[in-house]
Structure formats: structure tokens, C-alpha cells
């Protein structure tokens, strides 16, 4: 009975979140809260995808924004070059582009482990950024890619901010459910095995390189989805969307929230966005605050916000 109550509460909360713009009109007339929430949802998709790598498979990527950027450019360019606003065309373009890029970068970097993997993903990310920044005829270069068309499906347009918000929330729940299903599957357990003891996994007969490459591509593809929604939301893609700054923010989101937990990356995405964007409009040194908070968590609370909350909850119960 208690389980059903928790499930019902979760569904109600999800429905409330997805329909936020509809019932917040009264007090959020400037749509500021809606914009903040939408950005957080997009970043949360990005952080959840990175968490598959960092939190579950134990692969600390510092180049994840390459796939976010690839998805954003692909969704934007597909709409412009193919002259269509079909949602599935844009999503497919983002998924395929991000996956292919992840396949190439992954092939070259999953052989390395730990810090070396981090080093290589960082370097390849810089390469993708440099290309995006300089290839003016494709990406718009330093000026960015502007006038991106928002998607529609079967005559249903997501051109208005409110309808796009609902679509973004749906994508967020879908990716969340997918992550949940992956983590509980035997594949997800194999990923955790990879993190805990890769040699034993190999001895058990797992093709660990293939496993590492597969999760790298999967995480890249989901980051591409986040990128596509970012492009539709902003109607603009900057080279910085494939830059190292976002990759660093991503890993901070995952670790700050709680790596290897389902909710952690979402909490982390909210915390990082609130510091980087909202706090930033009040104080001039928001990034310093983020840096200090991150250092404090790495030193004192490696299980992240979710881990600390769980411990506090357990202590309160006993």
C-alpha cells in the first residue's frame, strides 16, 4: 500500500512538473521560472547521460559536451538544410550525429582507463570545439548557428515556449525512465561490474572493450538528445555548446549531485545551473562559489548531495 502511495506521489509530481507553465501563469508572468526549469531539465538529461559513464561504468569523461554540441548542431542544421520541422527528423539527426561522433572518439579513447581516459576525452572535446568554432560554412563558426526552427509533429507545433517546455519535460522523463531501465538490466549490472573490477569482468568472459565502447556511444547519443532540445529552446547554437566549459560543468553536476545514483545528476544539474546562471546575476563571483563548493564536496562528501541527504535521513530514522 505504501509503495502505491509513493508511486502515485511520484506520478503526481511528474505531472505537475510537466504542466508547470500551465498552472504557474498567475505568478510567473515573465516566464522566468519556466525558463530556468526548462534549462535545468535539458542539463539534467545531459547529466543523466554522463552519469551512465561516470557513475555506473566508472569512465570519467571530461569531453561529454562534444556530443551535446553535435546533437545541437545536427538538430539545428537538419531543420534548416532539409527544410523540415518534423520532430523525428531533428531527433534522428541529433541521435545519429552524436552516436557516430561518440563511436569515433570512443574507439580511440576507451582503451585508456581512469585519468588517461579523462585526458583523451578532454583533448578530443577541444578538437570538436575548435572545428565548430572555425568551420564557418557549416556551423556558423564564432557567430554561432542562429534562426533554428522549432519542431512540430503531425501538425502539432512546439513553436511556443510553453509547448516546447512540455515536450522537454516529456523527453526528460523518457530519458530518466530509460536510465532507470538500463541500470536495472543485466547490461547495467555489467557496467557496474566494469566500474568495480574490470579484470574480473574480463575473466568472466565479458568483452570489456566492447562494453565500454557501447556505453560511451549510448551516453553520447543521449547527450545528443539534450543538445537537440537545447538548440530548439535557444533557437541558437554556439561553439561553446561543444566546449570544455560545459564538459566540466557536466562532471561537476554528476559528482555534486551524486554519481551512480538516479536522482543525483538531476539535483546536480539544478544546483550547477542555479549557481552559474541565477546566482551569477546577483554576485560577480558565482564561478568562484561553484569552484569552492566543488572542492569541498570532493574533499569531504564524495557521495554528493544525494548521498549526504540519504545519510542524514538514515541518521534521523535510527
Amino acid at each position: 500500500m505504501k509503495r502505491y502511495a509513493a508511486g502515485a506521489a511520484l506520478v503526481a509530481a511528474a505531472a505537475a512538473l510537466a504542466t508547470f507553465p500551465l498552472w504557474s501563469k498567475g505568478w510567473d508572468s515573465s516566464r522566468y521560472a519556466t525558463t530556468v526549469l526548462e534549462n535545468i531539465l535539458i542539463l539534467a538529461i545531459f547529466a543523466m547521460s554522463l552519469n551512465l559513464l561516470v557513475g555506473y561504468a566508472g569512465m570519467p569523461s571530461l569531453g561529454h559536451s562534444a556530443f551535446f554540441g553535435a546533437g545541437a548542431y545536427a538538430a539545428g542544421l537538419a531543420g534548416q538544410r532539409l527544410g523540415t520541422e518534423n520532430l523525428f527528423v531533428g531527433l534522428a539527426a541529433a541521435l545519429v550525429t552524436a552516436s557516430l561522433l561518440a563511436l569515433v572518439i570512443g574507439y580511440l579513447s576507451v582503451r585508456a582507463a581512469g585519468i588517461f581516459f579523462l585526458m583523451l576525452t578532454l583533448a578530443f572535446d577541444q578538437m570538436v570545439f575548435a572545428y565548430a568554432f572555425k568551420a564557418t560554412d557549416v556551423t556558423g563558426g564564432a557567430n554561432g548557428l542562429s534562426a533554428i526552427r522549432r519542431p512540430e509533429l503531425f501538425g502539432l507545433s512546439f513553436g511556443s515556449p510553453d509547448s516546447l517546455y512540455v515536450l522537454t519535460a516529456l523527453a526528460f522523463f523518457l530519458v530518466g525512465a530509460l536510465t532507470w531501465a538500463i541500470v536495472r538490466s543485466s547490461y547495467g549490472r555489467a557496467l557496474v561490474g566494469l566500474r568495480e573490477n574490470e579484470r574480473r569482468m574480463r575473466a568472466l568472459g565479458y568483452g570489456t572493450l566492447t562494453l565500454r565502447l557501447s556505453v560511451f556511444v549510448l551516453a553520447g547519443a543521449l547527450a545528443g538528445v539534450a543538445g537537440a532540445f537545447h538548440a530548439w529552446n535557444q533557437r541558437f547554437v554556439a561553439a561553446q555548446d561543444a566546449g570544455i566549459g560545459l564538459s566540466i560543468s557536466g562532471i561537476i553536476m554528476v559528482l555534486l549531485g551524486g554519481a551512480g545514483t538516479l536522482v543525483g545528476p538531476v539535483v546536480g544539474a539544478a544546483a550547477v545551473f542555479l549557481i552559474q546562471r541565477v546566482l551569477d546575476s546577483y554576485i560577480p563571483f558565482a564561478q568562484t562559489v561553484l569552484g569552492l563548493v566543488f572542492v569541498a564536496f570532493v574533499l569531504g562528501a564524495r557521495q554528493g548531495i544525494v548521498g549526504v541527504a540519504r545519510q542524514a535521513l538514515a541518521r534521523a530514522r535510527s
Binding site: P60, L108, R111, A112, A113, G114, I115, F116, L118, M119, L120, L122, A123, F124, Q126, M127, A130, Y131, K134, A135, G243, I244, G245, I248, I251, I252, L255, P284, F285, A286, Q287, T288, L290, G291, L292, F294, V295, V298, L299, R302
Partner: protein
């Protein structure tokens, strides 16, 4: 491409490589000794460059900056190591992530103090001329950078091979735990290593200030180039940093001429090839790939 242009680009490439060597030597030293990937290396480089700018503005003396800035930032590193890195000794990945936080704070403070616009520093008096190289004028300061880095490489190489400190460093890179068992105070050695590594990053920043434009984001660019240098050359050895920078510097300058949009692609192609065929880097002992 004419012969003169080739010579000019080669000199540009070598002087840029010389700069990368100073930066990468510090990164490689810290990594080889402590297994810490110092992701704040680019931030320390940038802080060094901006402090040089401030000192030259205040005193007009570049050479003062060249001495004071690396020492001051080395001391900062000497304080930060026991304060932060020592607390999570042995957790190499966490240590690398920690340095990201440090980098965020440093770059933010630089932005607040110096602003975001592009800055340059004129070459110091006496070196702000051009000399004739094969019938074409070439800036003296860039030649100075090459000589300076070569002298530094020779000095470091001497310290490495002939002094007691060098023996400690070589032993520490090989097996720091064993060194501790032999009675060496490794905690102090690590703190000093980090100080020297940060000092080298700051030195690179001062030397780079008259050549490269100072702007937000320069820290990331240089961090990544120095990472590529040590990955290509090999981690933990001085020879690796030299070989890597002599390869990547010219690859960068020629890449900018031939490939434009893909200038970085040449560098990363070199890195990818090295990783696929020589997982330890050209002269390294630590395997990067498997």
C-alpha cells in the same frame, strides 16, 4: 609555399614548441611523481601571464616578473598541495577533479580583476626588434624563447641526472612508495614537486605573455596542448616533454597554414596515431592505452 615561409613557420613552430615544453615539463613532473593530473595547470599558466602583465605595468621591468611570478606561484602551489591534494592522497581521479575546482576559482578571480578583454604585453626592451633570418625579418623575442627553453631543458636535465634532488625525483617517479619506505619524507617531496610544477606553469605564462594574446579561455587551450604534448611524448620523463613539444609546436604552426579549419586536427591526428601504435607515448614509461 616558398622556402622563406617554410623557415618562418618552422621557427614559429619551434618557439611555440619551446613554450609548450616549459608548460608540459611541469605537468609531466607533477604527474610522474605524484600521479596527479594537474588540471589547474592552464589556470596557473594564465595567472602567471596576467601577473607578469601587472608587474610590467607597475614597474616596467619584464625581467623582474620573470623571476618573481614563478617564485610567488610556486609558493602558492607549496601551500595548496598540503591544504588540498594531501587530504585525498592516493585517490588520483579525485585529485584531478579537485584541481578543476581550483582552476575555476583562479580563472574567475582573473576575470574579476583583469576583465575579459584581449591583452598583450610588449616584448622587453632590447628584445623588441627583428633580426634578419635568411633575408627576412624575424622577431628577436621568439628566438629568445627558443634559447631560454633550451637552457631550461639543459638545466633541468642536469638536475635530473647529476644531483641528489634529481635522483630523488627519478626514484619518486619510479616508485614513490618505496622511496617513502627508505626514509625519504615523501610528503615534503610531493609538496615541493607540486610547487616546482606550478612554478614552471607560471614561468611559461610569463614567457608567453609577449607572444600570445591573453584572453579568457587561453587556460583551457594551453592545458590541452600541454596534455597532448605529454601524451605524445610520454609521461613522467623530461625527454618525453621535449620530444612531444618539438613535434606538436611545428604541427600547430604548419597546421594553421595548410589546414586552417582543421589546424587542431593535425595535432590530434598525431596524438591518435601515437596512441594507437605506441600507447606509452614516444619516450614514456607509463602506458596510456592498453
Amino acid at each position: 609555399m616558398t622556402g622563406e615561409l617554410v623557415v618562418q613557420q618552422a621557427l614559429n613552430g619551434i618557439s611555440f614548441g619551446a613554450l609548450l615544453f616549459v608548460l608540459a615539463a611541469g605537468l609531466s613532473l607533477i604527474f610522474g611523481m605524484m600521479d596527479v593530473l594537474n588540471l589547474a595547470h592552464g589556470a596557473f599558466y594564465m595567472l602567471g601571464a596576467y601577473l607578469a602583465l601587472a608587474i610590467v605595468r607597475a614597474t616596467g621591468n619584464f625581467w623582474l616578473a620573470l623571476v618573481v611570478v614563478p617564485v610567488a606561484l610556486g609558493l602558492l602551489g607549496r601551500v595548496l598541495e598540503p591544504l588540498l591534494l594531501r587530504r585525498i592522497r592516493g585517490l588520483h581521479l579525485q585529485q584531478a577533479l579537485l584541481t578543476i575546482g581550483v582552476a575555476l576559482v583562479i580563472t574567475d578571480l582573473i576575470r574579476i580583476v583583469f576583465g575579459g578583454e584581449l591583452r598583450t604585453l610588449p616584448a622587453p626592451a632590447g628584445l623588441d626588434r627583428s633580426v634578419d633570418v635568411l633575408g627576412n625579418p624575424y622577431p628577436v623575442y621568439r628566438l629568445f624563447v627558443i634559447v631560454f627553453a633550451a637552457a631550461l631543458a639543459a638545466t633541468l636535465s642536469f638536475v635530473y641526472r647529476r644531483t641528489r634532488l634529481g635522483a630523488l625525483i627519478r626514484a619518486g617517479v619510479g616508485d614513490a612508495e618505496m622511496l617513502g619506505a627508505l626514509g625519504v619524507d615523501t610528503e615534503r617531496l610531493f609538496a615541493n614537486t607540486y610547487a616546482v610544477g606550478v612554478g614552471l606553469a607560471a614561468l611559461a605564462g610569463v614567457v608567453a605573455a609577449p607572444i600570445l594574446t591573453l584572453q579568457p579561455g587561453a587556460d583551457e587551450e594551453m592545458l590541452i596542448l600541454s596534455l597532448v604534448v605529454v601524451v605524445v611524448g610520454g609521461l613522467g620523463t623530461l625527454g618525453g616533454a621535449i620530444a612531444g613539444s618539438l613535434l606538436i609546436g611545428p604541427a600547430d604552426s604548419f597546421g594553421k597554414v595548410f589546414l586552417e579549419q582543421f589546424s587542431l586536427a593535425l595535432i590530434f591526428a598525431v596524438m591518435a596515431l601515437v596512441l594507437l601504435f605506441r600507447p606509452t607515448g614516444l619516450l614514456g614509461r607509463i602506458r596510456i592505452g592498453r
